[in-house]
């Protein structure tokens, strides 16, 4: 049976990098993998998603309503935006970080309260983590995406793949130490 993952967040959070690492690790493990990255205007702070499917044979990575086994939201309200893609009984991994979108900053819309509570009340399996705080404690806020990678890997039960090798391949040498620590912190969260 194929597994599907939907990663959602904000342009600049490093979602595409995490998706590349995940996809390559899965391929080396012997899975067929398809990963769809929709970008273009994404660097400009818009909402970004990537879709990954893996299994014996995958044709299309596209995930629609009720189809994702796992939804990884790199920002709280992105979990709200994409929750309809999660299948009943699926797992939601959510970063508690708040990134205000422009309509909120400009006072045109409001950033909602009680998001995590709402998610925990309504969704069966929720893993919430303040990945930015975890990363900041390690001294590098930018590594929060790698913390999320660790949580995701653990939730999928895929710890045996050489993820640290992939992190080293895709990230600059001077950041290896902190990113590997961030990854391990993510693994430990569960």
């Amino acid at each position: 049976m194929n597994k599907s993952l939907l990663l959602a967040g904000v342009g600049g959070q490093g979602i595409i990098l995490v998706s590349k690492i995940l996809s390559e690790g899965l391929m080396e493990e012997g899975y067929d993998v398809k990963m769809s990255e929709i970008h273009g205007m994404s660097q400009r702070g818009g909402s970004v998603t990537t879709q990954i499917k893996f299994g014996e044979k995958v044709y299309s990575p596209i995930i629609n309503a009720g189809e994702a086994d796992v939804l990884v939201a790199f920002e709280k309200i992105e979990a709200l935006r994409y929750i309809e893609n999660l299948k009943s009984g699926g797992t939601l991994i959510v970063n508690e970080e708040e990134i205000f979108p422009l309509p909120v900053l400009a006072g045109l819309e409001e950033y909602p309260d009680g998001v995590i509570e709402e998610l925990k009340n309504k969704v069966d399996h929720v893993i919430n983590i303040d990945a930015r705080k975890v990363a900041l404690d390690l001294g590098e806020a930018k590594s929060s995406n790698i913390v999320m990678l660790g949580v995701t890997v653990k939730a999928l039960g895929l710890e045996d793949i050489d993820w640290e090798g992939k992190i080293k391949k895709y990230l600059p040498a001077k950041t290896h130490e902190k990113n590997i620590l961030a990854f391990r912190k993510g693994l430990e969260t569960l």
Binding site: V10, M27, V33, K34, M35, S36, S60, P101, L108, L119
Partner: protein, 594 residues
């Protein structure tokens, strides 16, 4: 060797393996990474061409001279290149010539979702559609063989889901096909009427019947027989979506060579299956053809014409499956549209323009400046296509005068767009004595598509130093009077203010060139890394003037205005906008830097 590659990376690999020697493109989502990846191969000459028409013409010249050549572009780029495309169809090739069009069903990052398959029957050019990364590589090699075998340009059509989906690709070796001999042949390559008449007849009489026969026999069009109750005719990304949705429950006719379409294969398939669904995004291109053959099929009666056709839609239509159950929440998220970045050099002048809402109209263009049209700046009356920022402004201004609206028109575009097709509008404005104000936002890069070099940047795609084409010199050479030109630093609000005021009072064409590099350029980020602005909460009266500049780094949290140090690059537009001087710029090491 196996590698995980996007369709675009695989196309680049295919170009390398096919022995391509010349590759040209103009950046445009979802096609941009094709040439970026091609440029990593030293064996291939790559160039960012000034626009798509130039790209196709350069590739055509290379083909006639004997090399395998290709031009890649987004779907709307082929409109720009349509002029050479239709006549190259008559002339044919020497070295193989492939035109890659990256279409965008669903418009993830485009202004329309035109279906460029229709260009193939219109121009009578062979059409190939790969479905995934492996096919991108393999079919591109086939495209060059077909191009040379049938003496025709080949249109290679991919869509966003093919371009931007990573899949596993088996790599091959490069085949050096070399450069063919060039023999002068005016009857073939000089399309004056006498020769064109001959070539048109030749194309209809000789080439198209051969391609038609090929379409019926090639393995690019293949039948996969499973159950005979339902048959699916499909191509491109839709084939993958159909397989994902229906697996081996149905039979398939997978079309990889889609102009000319294989009538015999359709008839054969119709005999083998009871009911046919045609699954294709956007236009009913294959469906109309199949129906014209007298074959019953279900297409756009059930499938949407607008947007993408996902596996879920296919399951609903073909299998009658319901949407799987999911979660519904009571809290709705606020919108998150893309926005001008913190520190974007376009913000200041857009903010200044936003103050003249009742005095000006703004014809905007394709690029980051289209983001200036969003709230709270809301600067922009039109966005159509590359270059229209100037030319549409000329027409708008004429009618504003006829209607005596007393409003000035500002046309806005960027440096790369200026070279692409803004220059022609500039010449038009001068020649036809327009009073248009032309604003060229020169941020030293092609920004929206992810930072490509252009004629103004002083570098080319191969990383070499290149002549830097000077925009201001062009403006002067086109005849804009010195007193009607302002070259300003858009981080300095007084300069924005003065330029716009002068423009409003000026007669004749007026040009404002803003010069400040994109805030996301690596060197710029490095240089400004320690700069940030901070609010003095004792002075701040919470008037919210700073929030009106629409900067994603500035927020109001619990009644206090806060500037995010990480995002802020100290551009100081907010500092200059604050009426109470409550914002100061700092340098992390080395104190204040006002």
């Amino acid at each position: 060797m196996k590698k995980l590659m996007t369709g675009n990376e695989a196309i680049a690999r295919g170009a390398y393996e096919a022995g391509v020697l010349v590759a040209c493109a103009y950046p445009g989502t979802p096609s941009t990474e094709i040439l970026e990846n091609v440029s990593a191969y030293d064996e291939i000459y790559s160039e960012w061409s000034t626009n798509e028409k130039v790209a196709l013409e350069v590739a055509f010249g290379a083909s006639v001279a004997g090399a395998r050549a290709m031009a890649s572009m987004k779907h709307v780029g082929l409109n720009v290149a349509a002029d050479p495309f239709f006549t190259i169809a008559y002339e044919g090739v020497n070295g193989g010539l492939v035109v890659i069009t990256a279409d965008e069903p669903g418009m993830h990052s485009s202004q329309n979702e035109q279906d460029n398959r229709l260009y193939a029957p219109h121009a009578k050019v062979a059409l190939i559609e790969p479905s995934d990364s492996q096919e991108c590589k393999d079919y591109l090699k086939r495209a060059f063989e077909i191009s040379e075998q049938f003496d025709t340009a080949v249109l290679f059509r991919v869509t966003t889901r093919v371009c931007h989906t990573k899949g596993i690709v088996e790599l091959g070796e490069r085949e050096e096909v070399g450069i063919k001999e060039y023999i002068k042949n005016p009857k073939k390559y000089i399309m004056v009427p006498a020769n064109a008449k001959e070539k048109h007849i030749e194309m209809e009489r000789d080439r198209l019947p051969k391609l038609h026969e090929f379409s019926n026999t090639t393995d690019l069009n293949r039948i996969e027989l499973n159950d005979s109750k339902i048959g699916v005719v499909t191509s491109g990304a839709c084939y993958m979506n159909a397989k994902e949705a229906l697996g081996d429950k149905v039979s398939y006719l997978k079309i990889g060579f889609s102009y000319p379409l294989p009538d015999e294969k359709f008839k054969e398939f119709a005999e083998k299956v009871e009911k046919i669904y045609v699954i294709e995004e956007n236009e009913p291109y294959m469906e109309n053809f199949i129906k014209a053959l007298g074959i019953d099929c279900i297409g756009k009666e059930e499938f949407p014409l607008c947007g993408e056709i996902t596996p879920q839609i296919i399951k609903k239509v073909v299998l009658g499956e319901k949407t799987p159950s999911t979660y519904k929440l009571d809290i709705l998220p606020p919108n998150r549209p893309p926005a001008l970045c913190a520190g974007c050099p376009h913000r200041g002048i857009f903010y200044e323009m936003s103050k003249y809402k009742n005095k000006i109209n703004v014809t905007s263009d394709i690029g980051c400046y289209s983001l200036g049209a969003s709230a709270p700046l809301s600067v922009g009356d039109t966005v159509v296509c590359m270059g229209a920022g100037f030319s549409a402004g000329i027409g708008f201004d004429r009618v504003n005068k006829m209607a005596q609206r007393g409003k000035k028109v500002f046309g806005v575009l960027g440096d790369s767009t200026f070279f692409h097709s803004g220059m022609t509008g500039l010449v038009d404005a001068v020649y036809n004595k327009s009073d248009l104000v032309m604003v060229i936002l020169d941020n030293r890069i092609t920004a929206m598509t992810g930072h490509q070099e252009n004629p103004g940047t002083g570098k080319n795609i191969m990383g070499e130093e290149a002549p830097m084409i000077d925009i201001v010199s062009i403006v002067k050479a086109c005849g804009v009077k010195e007193e009607n030109i302002r070259v300003i630093n858009p981080y300095i609000m007084s300069q924005n203010k003065e330029a716009i005021k002068s423009a409003l009072e000026a007669k004749g064409p007026f040009v404002i060139v803003t010069k400040q590099p994109c805030a996301l350029i690596k060197e710029v980020q490095k240089k400004r890394a320690n700069l940030y602005s901070e609010v003095d909460n004792e002075k701040c009266t919470k008037c919210k003037a700073c929030l009106r500049i629409g900067c994603p780094a500035i927020s109001m949290v619990d009644g206090r205005v806060l500037i995010d140090k990480v995002q802020c690059n100290g551009c100081t537009v907010c500092v200059q906008t604050c009426p109470y001087k409550a914002i100061k710029v700092h340098q992390e090491r080395g104190g204040e830097n006002e």
